[in-house]
Amino acid sequence: MKSYALKTGPGDVNRALTSFLKQLLERGVVDAILVPRATRSGTSVVQALVKDPVAMEGALPLAPLAMQNAARQVSSLTVQDPGQKLGVVLRSCETRALVELVKLHQATMDNLLIIGIDCPGTFEPANYKKLVETGNFDPEQWLTRAAMGETAVNDTDVRAACALCRHVTAEHAGIHVGYVGYVGIDPTKELLVQVQDEELAGALAELGLAEYQVHASRDETITRIRAAREEEYRQQAAALAEKTGTLAGTTDLLAACLRCHNCRQACPICFCQECVFAGPLFKHQPGDYLGWAQKKGVIKMPTDTMLFHLTRINHMGLSCVGCGHCQSACPVGIPLTVLFRSAGQKVQDIFGYTPGRDVGEELPLATYQVSELEPR
């Protein structure tokens, strides 16, 4: 792996990275790039597919906002061979979800250059909007502080899932852009660009990037951030497990569920074109509802909310990467991140499987070990 320094300047971090991406397009390293871009109002950042290098202006690759897991967009672009080389700017939860989607035959990596970025976390879309609107958000200042693991602005911190995330760098990246953990050097001076492939390294050298010795403080800071978040996750998972240990506790947790299916819509793993819960199976006859109400005295409407979540964990639990977009999409604030991440972990543990780890590793349900056939 080769490391380079990409020179930036105050007020120029995103622009420096953007012109680097623009050069990748101009030089034909990739034919198109999927990158986060600010909406005209500036209060949101959405995924944008850029073909024209000039249109790369306005991209905000390091903005701490992910409105959805971009693996969904990569799936849309690669489920069939696009016939072009595609660059995609992704953070860890997105590359890991993408690996799972490749295994589920919903995406391919054949013509893909993953441009991974460090991610200390992203804000809830509504919070990001408020921070920008009230003028409380300075993107450069945030990057400098987030580089040391301080992500909160005033009282507003990153999404619940991000505050519990054990990943900072993006896995499986052909090119990786980092800024976390610098001591003495801050992202307003330079970004770290790392490349796996020799051929790509040659292309980058042509762009005039200087080789760079990575300071040990980077790894130390990343390890520190990860350990603190892992500990926070352990505590929250333990607290939740006390509630979900009984049916009554889980019922309380899910009682406000409207079965709007937003969590399924936001989930990068839930790819089914026709979800069983959108089909006729759960469109009951009016008489059925009245019959159940007769039997129990009272029933919640809509029905089947617990069954919906139980079905979802059975369908996507093995591949859950813990991105927490389910929780961000929930209109009633159910703590789905910890519920699904911990329930997913339990089924993953049966097979010693870590979703997103290795694209060559088979999905546990698509293969078998001889030992599994022994009676037990």
């Binding site: 049916l247 889980t250 019922t251 899910l254 009272v298 029933i299 139980l310 093995l318």
Partner: protein
């Protein structure tokens, strides 16, 4: 996997039984069903029958 997920949701995993019984093992089948019925009677009515918010 299902039993782990049921546990995660606070549902007693012993309400679900998985057994492999060949079509020729009629006696084993009958015995297993009897065991399951006894076990379920011991567990009592399923609490989901009275919870209204599910």
């Amino acid at each position: 996997m299902l039993k782990k997920s049921l546990e995660s949701f606070g549902i007693n995993k012993d309400r679900v039984w998985f057994r492999f019984i060949s079509a020729s093992e009629g006696k084993t089948f009958a015995e297993t069903v009897n065991q399951m019925v006894q076990s379920l009677k011991k567990l009592g009515p399923n609490p989901t029958w009275t919870a209204w918010e599910l």
